[in-house]
Symmetry: C3
Subunit: 474 residues, 3 copies
């Protein structure tokens, strides 16, 4: 079996002088605590602190980065333990793991490979590489360790040095796990993020049940416009009460609207009825982004906009397996015209803060950096999803810094449901940022002391300020 | 005269450590045979094995990369020997060559320069650079050698180490040269590619004569929908019979459609008549991509889609000279919405294989890598046409690898009609791939043995499997 | 206070071998005179040669790059001395300067920082960095020097080694300052550029007063189509008479049109009336680009097209402060379909020359390089505005050179109203070009003597020919 080695200079530039600068920058921030202001881990883990079961259920079956690649090479999702319509298949977890190990070469050159190797080595102490021959060794070693005290969620949370972790819950979902965490006396700071898409997107097949749950949770008449808005305000307050500082919005486009109150109410009533068009649904999402911006200007919650994914693109797979099976594909996204209605209404607000994300890198230099380099209420989220990778992060810095500067960005988001990859992801971001800063120093575009200051900012300072972590809202 | 030297380290990274890694990777694959699964060489060359005549007719007059650049700087196509409406001008070939030599500096920094210098040095043994003063030396040396046995097409084919070469013929074109090659007993593997655009694109001025020829060749009633589909099936079988493994489709967009059989038939009859619109023509091309995918799922021919060129953009030049005069311009291309109808029908097929190309690099990371990194039937063709260049290839790897991996790509295509440039083009691709892999190794993102394995795959393994070269279809 | 040092190797590549090549290339062109064929300096400076007043009024208040960044971080424009609707606020210039100095870290990694530091060090002899502690030292040192003879506009023009400088004036604006410069006997070559947008864009709120002034200046009946065209011809001649060689056009899109004379006249009369639509206004701008191309084909003035800015995007700021307050945002721009009507009419002209600019980098490799690498009348302007930066310039070369070559580009434009930044901007361009050329040499893609020749061309040769500086038009 081949050794597994995490090289201490990984991701740093090859040129020796530049590498030396990068090493020094990285040394200054490598051990800073992790601030994770946006992600999708399960709060139940931290509420119940129950052990995970085995390598496949924790690391493989829920990770869409992994099974999308395996599926693309003809491997059936069933054989990997991926659920169909929420029902886990009969796949033997060890057999699934072996299949994964046998195809691990497919991940060469991808961030998944880097994240996994980091977790294998640093979390589980593996010192041989994953391949067919080491599959069982991996499966057994990981599964055994997962059963121990030291590998319970809270223990790993502490071991990872996580200072702040935000999960994401729907407007219509319970915060019981978060309440349990608060009540437990544990000192880990785990909060939620208000994600109201489920009660806004009338094209989602579960819109009506979500609205019913929204009504229950708030006691409001959510089918009236005023009741609906009041319900949002109530739930935003509920989220703030368990520590949330932010909202999140993930629609197909970044389109916003600026309708009059009467028009907005009429549109709401229409899309709650039976005869609306796709254009009505889009306009309602657009108007709700503006309404949410208005509430953020009131209550101080930071607004995150994650637009541009074509969800569940694979019609056959959607029919056989349901949503969220690695078939979401980015699309071309406009920000300039799309955001103007919202910005015309709230663009000069001094209390509103919006963090913009994109899956369309062509907008970095053309639209996003110029927007964030002008509007006081706009900041740029880090490179996202498919672009949360060494090359993607490098392009983000190269294409945004010259126009937006560093100070209109907000540090790193791991945006993951793969809890064990969190340290790896932050480590990759820190290394890539240090590599970028080192190049600027090596080319005499920045002084070394400035780069050291910026490395701190990119790792810890900007994220704390952008997500208002030190400035409790209520 | 200045010397012409091909430096052994050309295109390898300047950093000494990275270069050393790249050199070693390149040494491992530099001499592998050439597999050329997609291109536009003339099968008559290999059927008749006749000598080429002179430097201008072989190297200059047919090469749109060369005359487009010269034309852009005010040089008349007539003076370069470029035909107008198929008729060669009266230009003296030596005078044309001199004009070219005198302007050779225009190609600095372009791949044409690199391809030509490689051919000049390795094929013709030139050791001085092309410039005004060496024009006649070049013209005479090349022209004399072309008259010899060693420079006949088959001799060069063997000397170049070509293992497989695919040409491209229309659905309405003869395969006589390919049949002659087979009958000749020569052991060179030269096959065709099924390109039915001429009998699908009703906006092409030669659609009707192409259909007439299509009817003749198949004996089918091609003006009826069932006869038309049957004719496609017959000709696909004809192409497979002379070794073809692939089809090719080059429309202005990647739009596909998924009409019912009755709708498809009605549309076919409409566009075969006199009163159709541009939208009908587009919808018919879209539907035919889906029909062709269906036939590929049946017969196993690999489907190549090359969309996104605005053909014959220069209206004045089109009037004076006709088609294909270097005036094709790439356009913004959508894949996500465009391919969905086809993928909804055949996206989960286990027998269909589609190779996607683009002229719009903004789709690499945003659309193509996510699509190929998910759908089992999709693979990414290499950087194409204007982007088949060192910087273009580098961007392709940087923007696709992290999401699609290496294994959803298909190796290199030279895609050329310039036979003598084939070794140069493959050499450039090998060097650029080794440079990319070397950077990953130098940055400790890949182990050296993995890079060596990948270099083999990118040069020989992936292309053989993607184009089903070792898995005869019939 | 920290030292301010301009490192002699700034912007050159870190790899020692490549840097050595770059240094040598740069040494060969560092001291060449400055040719500035497109910009927005005020001709009054050179006509009156009056001293500037203070650091804030010269360097801060008029520079939208500076105040957009400061505004994006919540600093009020009033406090920086930025005028609202043309009225300067009561801000104390020293207080504004202190505020700027205190936030100078925001510009880390931006070209503004590089331009300013260059001007601070080389123009004003500062040897400490700008920060809160040095704010007064800077303000006093700069303001004092500005009052001296050596810092009058003409003295700096000479000291900067400017050989040619073009300002930009509207079709409806006076050329009195230029006439005064000519009459003064001063030997500086300062000319204008014909910018007719104000009398073409009927959506501009000042269209009617501009037309009135256009009528006065020309004595033509500008509200009739023939009179309007005649007025353009007259004013173009006026501009040529004071040395102008070029026109400039900056519309929201690059759309052109090719209407018949009767259609054009009807459209003109419509948009001059009271009932036109946004589509009419766009079509008229489109048609006028073609009309202007026709006049350029007649009179030889080089046509510059700067499309793609969404002007005054911030509705709130537009209401409070008016135009041009750093709220212009680039948009996605099409060239292929947009330019075809104009090119169908004049694309094969041998006298027309059009220089294309973009704010949408995704068009570099996809559209602009292929267009310029084909059409004799098209050239590529350098990276523009937000992209006039080290990374932006590098991307421009990497994405255009392989298809368009170097010889279809036109050298550098500083495009600035910040006179003191002109040497810095040209120096950045020269360094980045030398870095790019050095990489090609280090990777053996170009010979060293070719790179040296190209460095001269990119600095001085191409711009002189593209803007017809040595070939007076009348």
């Amino acid at each position: 079996m081949r050794p597994l080695v995490l090289h201490e200079d990984r991701l740093l530039p090859a040129d020796p002088d530049t590498r030396a600068i990068a090493r020094q920058l990285y040394a200054g921030i490598a051990d800073l605590p992790i601030v994770s202001p946006h992600g999708h881990t399960d709060p139940a883990w931290f509420a119940t602190n129950a052990n995970w079961t085995n390598a496949t259920e924790l690391l493989l079956a829920p990770d869409h980065y992994l099974y999308r690649m395996l599926y693309s090479q003809g491997i059936a999702l069933e054989s990997l333990g991926v659920p169909a319509h929420g029902v886990a298949p009969a796949a033997d977890p060890r057999a699934a793991w072996r299949l994964f190990a046998q195809h691990y070469h497919l991940f060469r050159g991808t961030p998944s490979r880097m994240w996994l190797d980091h977790a294998f080595a640093t979390v589980f102490g593996m010192d041989v590489a994953l391949e067919a021959d080491s599959a069982d060794l991996y499966y057994d070693t990981i599964t055994e360790q997962l059963a121990t005290e030291a590998f319970r969620p809270r223990a790993l949370f502490d071991r990872f040095g996580i200072e702040f972790l935000a999960t994401t819950e729907g407007a219509h979902e319970s915060l019981a796990h978060h309440e349990a965490i608060s009540a437990s006396g544990w000192n880990g700071r785990v909060v939620s993020t208000y994600r109201p898409d489920g009660v806004i997107d009338v094209e989602h097949e579960a819109f009506r049940p979500a609205m019913a749950r929204f009504a229950e949770l708030t006691g409001e008449d959510v089918w009236s416009w005023q009741g609906y808005l009041a319900a949002h305000r109530k739930r935003r307050a509920d989220f703030r009460a368990i520590g949330a500082t932010a909202t999140d919005h993930g629609f197909p486009t970044a389109q916003t609207a600026n309708l009059s109150p009467a028009e907005a109410e009429a549109l709401f009533l229409k899309v709650c009825g039976d005869s609306w068009t796709a254009a009505d649904a889009e306009l309602f999402r657009a108007q709700m982004l503006t309404e949410m911006a208005g509430m953020s200007a009131e209550d101080g919650m930071v607004m995150q906009i994650h637009p541009g994914a074509f969800r569940n693109h694979n019609g056959g797979l959607f029919a056989s397996h349901g949503r969220d099976k690695g078939a979401d594909i980015p699309t071309r996204t406009d920000y300039v015209a799309a955001l103007k209605p919202l910005l015309d209404r709230f663009g000069t607000s001094t209390t509103l803060s919006i963090i913009l994300f994109t899956l369309d890198e062509s907008t970095y230099a053309r639209e996003l950096a110029p927007l964030a380099g002008h509007y006081p209420c706009l900041k740029l989220g880090p490179s996202w999803w498919f672009h949360d990778s060494p090359e993607g992060m490098r392009r983000f810095r190269e294409m945004t810094t010259e126009t937006a500067g560093f100070y209109n960005t907000v540090g790193f988001n791991d945006d993951t449901r793969a809890f064990l990859s969190i340290p790896a992801r932050h480590d990759v971001a820190r290394r890539v940022d240090c590599a970028f800063l080192a190049r600027l120093v090596a080319e005499h575009r920045l002084e070394d002391w400035e780069a050291a200051e910026l490395a701190q900012e990119l790792t810890n300072g900007l994220v704390r300020r952008a997500y208002r972590l030190d400035d409790p809202l209520d």
